[in-house]
Symmetry: C2
């Protein structure tokens, strides 16, 4: 498809925006009028700049408060339109967006609106231009696409068509099913926006909190699919008003934007391809939709890799032994050591001149790579690069297995390890295995349950989309947790079988525990690692015996538990003694405990999941953060 | 009055909160239950800590989902209450807040609710405790104070009373007038919260956006007045859920909190004292309300003072001469130079070891003090110190006039200059007047129109309250302006006669023009200075002739103007030639132009106000900021 984006969606001067849009591979733009008004150059100059960048100006927008007006205002608005047509002509734009009227002067009179839009289209036609009419969710007389289509149909002018915007339809919970009955060639333009579900005024929601498809909670795929089924073949565009994007470096935003369209296209394509009916098949013949390899079939964490130097590697090694890990191997060609317990593999990389060392030099000892088990690692990286992530190739020693990898937002690596290798095959090939020694006591830790990341506020949407589009992880509920020094927004993302879980934590504050991890690492870095066991009481007891220190939990927490929940007193006593926290959902129970932090604020969480509990103990995070604040 | 605050209103661990609350002079606290649950100590220990700090625990809160429940849940809730009473007894708290039920299990049955609350009060009575019932705005059956009072009345138990919270009443636009008919001794507690008017879900509004009285848009004074007229004599307390306060250093928040109560008391006192009826007079005899000197009667800016060293003083002097200022004096005892044009006095202070030099060393050349003309400078500073601002005394040379001063939030000084001195009296006393020389050409600048401050996000509420409570300036509309690198929130504050105007600008972004001023100065610093003239075209022409450089405005701006507004083409042509911007309100017209920035991002605005225009040309700020971004 022809991919486009409204200039209002990015930060920067108009020139900077255009450069970022072109660099991300877009075909065209919607020119947001205010960007032009504040642009220090003529319309013709803008036309040359966009052409030089390989961008078409697909839409000039918005033209406001036009239809349904009393005669005097109508004549004035026609004059205003002529001036805008002058500009469009000079810059080489041929489609104008006219959005439904919000003026108190407008009359709720579809026949008048149609007649006036007919006249506007007639003026456009004289210049070889077209006008698209769009229903704003807060339009005074026209707020639904069905109403807008009714007016366009009545106006009956070849140069007048409909513009669809998913935000305006989905924010009002209007049904997009009716779109399929609109002739595709009468839909002149399609704007796709997602948004989080927020209980607020729709205008404020629209102006501040839209997001790219795949970043929010709307069913944008269905909306897009309906538009395609209508026979639409025009541009696929993004018009996103978002306070955070206004501040985010525009190169990153532009990549997110492109990824969101590719995601949308590929999801819609999958649905259309799955349908056996004639209409979807016709769409696939008519429109070229992005078709990457499928989302990777992930079956768990293969390993986590820590960046270190020699001294940090010693310290980390001692800590891991305390946690019950054994040193089981060293890499054939690099200063890299492998630790293991249960199915958990932790790698400490102190190889000079390596990617890991670069991360260590920038951020200190920290997680620099995740290994994920995937059915088809090569396809997984192909999907990632198709979705505009960068691949990463490490130098390979003799006899070592290639492990396809890519760079996640924020700079850490994600490796895909072939599931066919089993849980240990990779290490047998790449490491000289050693006897872990008798000094480390197994503590019953069995698997990596989840990995929590500390993100800067402008990285959350990026990560939600990356998780969905590249890794095939679906986001859960968005939660707010009270740290003593600010609110943390937290959102889990996980694959369907729940063998890979990440938790995305964001803080606006400079002073919360999460934010301090971000400030060390620049964001997108691992902030804690949750390890799963089958019997948390015996595991914690053994860890304490090994010398692991846990974040202390107030007695008041345990006094409060039985007032909130119907819970066995003996269990409470046991948890109190062990310092274990409790959460319950209708599906199951979550028992967990947090270690004290080591370097860079990083810490471990010990967890036991009972039955089908699917969360992360969010209700206990305030207790943990309050305790950490008292550390 | 007995002044109290809920611990949830401040950032930090419970211990840090208590210390900040005590340091700000509060008499007591409301203990927010979660703060206790996460507190690493017993209830008895908490009681000792608060007592040592001179704080009483006035309220334990909240006790949720109690009234109107089916029998099984009710019995369980009584058990839960007994555990809370245990804690309250141990910590020395005797009043529990029970908020109206939000559970889907609750029955809309006031008689049942009353009976159950009666039983709760009976349990409390056995321990010598009391229960207060409060209507939450989102309570399922009970959301209005009138409903809550009806239930309390029916329950008819001496240990059961009503708790009022201004947020819950004013957010629902419920009328507080009925409060006066409730017996004062049946109102057990009063929570005062303000809030900005936001079109959003009331629960989200309440949880994230409350503010201290005087910081928001609610008529909190009337609410408080009605409660006093009811005969209430209990604690005056604050319960503020605010995302920003959660991140703000708690000592500052606690001072703001205290200032808000003092402001509320003094405003209510003024109203009661003005009434001639018996009831208000009785209130004033019963309750001691804070009574500072009145807000200062301000009649304009006396001067602005720049902090500099010798080199910066030279540079600034050259710049000011370009703007048409003359050097008219040097200070009798300090390295301080005075510049004048019209009624504008600008002082450049390069005195070593002075307050100004400290500011210069920290922030570079910047405005370090405002002088305001006041009818009674001594009373103005007394009010300021009463409202918890710090006074500032400068060393005084022989023959110099004392100019009472105080420290504004962020660290700059505000001097009050006696209006009786006229516009020049101060300078005749303190300065050796010189002939300004023939080199400087008067450019027609006559007065300081307004001073714009760049604030960090957590300083806006502080400044709104400071402006109101200390300076007597009332806030105008809160606006959002689009900088190419983020949104700016902007709010003007001004005195009634509009001779003193400040504009408070805030940016979340690190990259906007406003934020960059903040990053240099730490916030609360002057970001631009608007100077008023009578004929902007001649002033700008003269300034350009003097070599002043203006921020260029795009031709597209002038092309767009006549499409938006009915405006004379000749005026547009003139503005285009001069680079002057245009705004219009129903009251008048605003013509303005911005100079390029000099050190620290600071710049000047040249303005002409026609008729009663009362704004700051906000609609043109995006054009200015876009142009500055291209500088």
């Amino acid at each position: 498809m022809h991919r486009s984006i409204a200039t209002v969606s990015l930060s920067g001067t108009l020139r900077q925006k255009l450069e970022a849009i072109a660099a991300a591979g877009f075909n065209g733009i919607e020119l947001f009028e205010n960007d032009f008004i504040n642009f220090n150059g003529t319309a013709a100059a803008l036309g040359r700049i966009t052409a030089d960048l390989g961008l078409s100006i697909d839409l000039y927008q918005p033209f406001r408060d036009f239809e349904g007006m009393p005669e005097a205002q109508f004549q004035r608005s026609l004059e205003r339109a002529e001036r805008k047509f002058d500009l469009m002509q000079a810059m080489g734009a041929s489609l104008m967006l006219c959005c439904s009227n919000t003026s108190p002067l407008t009359l709720d009179d579809p026949a008048r609106a149609a007649a006036q839009l007919h006249e506007l289209a007639e003026r456009a036609a004289r210049r070889g231009m077209r006008v698209g009419f769009e229903a704003l969710a807060w339009g005074r007389a026209t707020s639904l696409y069905g109403q807008a289509w009714d007016i366009v149909r009545r106006a009956d002018h070849p140069q007048l068509g409909l513009i669809l915007d998913s935000f305006h339809t989905l924010s009002l919970k209007d049904d997009p099913a009716g779109i399929v009955d609109i002739p595709g060639d009468k839909i002149f333009f399609l704007q796709m926006a997602d948004a989080p579900l927020l209980a607020m005024d729709v205008l404020q929601w629209a102006r501040h909190h839209r997001s790219f498809p795949g970043q929010g909670d709307f069913d944008v795929v269905t909306f897009f699919e309906k538009t395609l089924l209508a026979g639409y073949t025009g541009p696929l565009s993004l018009e996103i008003f978002n306070d955070v994007f206004r501040e985010t470096p525009n190169r990153r935003t532009a990549v997110d934007a492109m990824r969101s369209l590719l995601y949308l296209e590929s999801e819609a394509r999958n649905r259309l391809a799955a349908a056996q009916a004639e209409r979807p098949q016709r769409v696939l013949e008519t429109v070229e939709l992005f078709s990457p390899p499928p989302v990777p079939a992930l079956s768990g964490f293969s390993f986590l890799e820590f960046a270190a130097d020699e001294a940090a590697a010693e310290t980390l090694g001692a800590l891991l032994r305390q946690l019950g890990f054994r040193r089981v191997g060293r890499h054939r060609s690099k200063a890299v050591v492998l630790y293991r317990q249960g199915d958990i593999h932790l790698i400490v990389n102190a190889q000079p001149d390596s990617f890991a060392r670069g991360r260590f030099d920038a951020h200190g000892a920290s997680v620099c790579a995740l290994g994920l088990r995937a059915a088809d690692p090569v396809a997984a990286v192909e999907r990632a690069t198709g979705m505009r992530s960068q691949r990463h190739d490490s130098p390979l020693g003799p006899g070592e297995l290639p492990v396809p990898a890519m760079i996640a937002p924020g700079g850490n690596l994600v490796h895909f390890v072939s599931a066919a290798l089993g849980t240990t095959g990779l290490y047998e090939a790449d490491f000289i295995l050693e006897d872990g020694g008798a000094d480390a006591t197994d503590t019953g830790l069995q698997a990596i349950d989840h990995v929590a990341l500390g993100l800067a506020p402008d990285q959350l949407d990026t990560w939600v989309l990356f998780s969905r589009a590249v890794l095939g992880l679906e986001p859960g509920e968005s939660l707010e947790l009270a740290d003593p020094f600010g609110l943390i927004r937290s959102r889990g993302v996980a694959n369907a079988e729940r063998s890979v879980r990440l938790v995305l934590n964001v803080s606006q504050s400079q002073r919360t525990r999460t934010a301090r991890t971000v400030s060390v690492t620049g964001g997108g870095a691992v902030h804690h690692i949750a390890l799963r066991c089958e019997d948390i009481f015996s595991t914690v007891e053994q860890l304490r015996a090994n010398g692991t220190r846990f974040v202390p939990i107030s007695d008041n927490y345990y006094d409060d538990l039985p007032t909130r929940l119907d819970i066995d007193a003996a269990l409470v006593a046991r948890m109190r003694a062990a310092g274990v926290l409790f959460d319950r959902s209708p599906a199951g129970v979550y028992l967990h405990s947090y270690t004290e932090s080591f370097g860079q604020g990083l810490f471990f969480e010990i967890v036991q999941r009972i039955d089908a509990y699917d969360g992360y103990g969010a209700s206990n995070a305030p207790a943990r953060m309050a305790s950490q604040a008292q550390e």
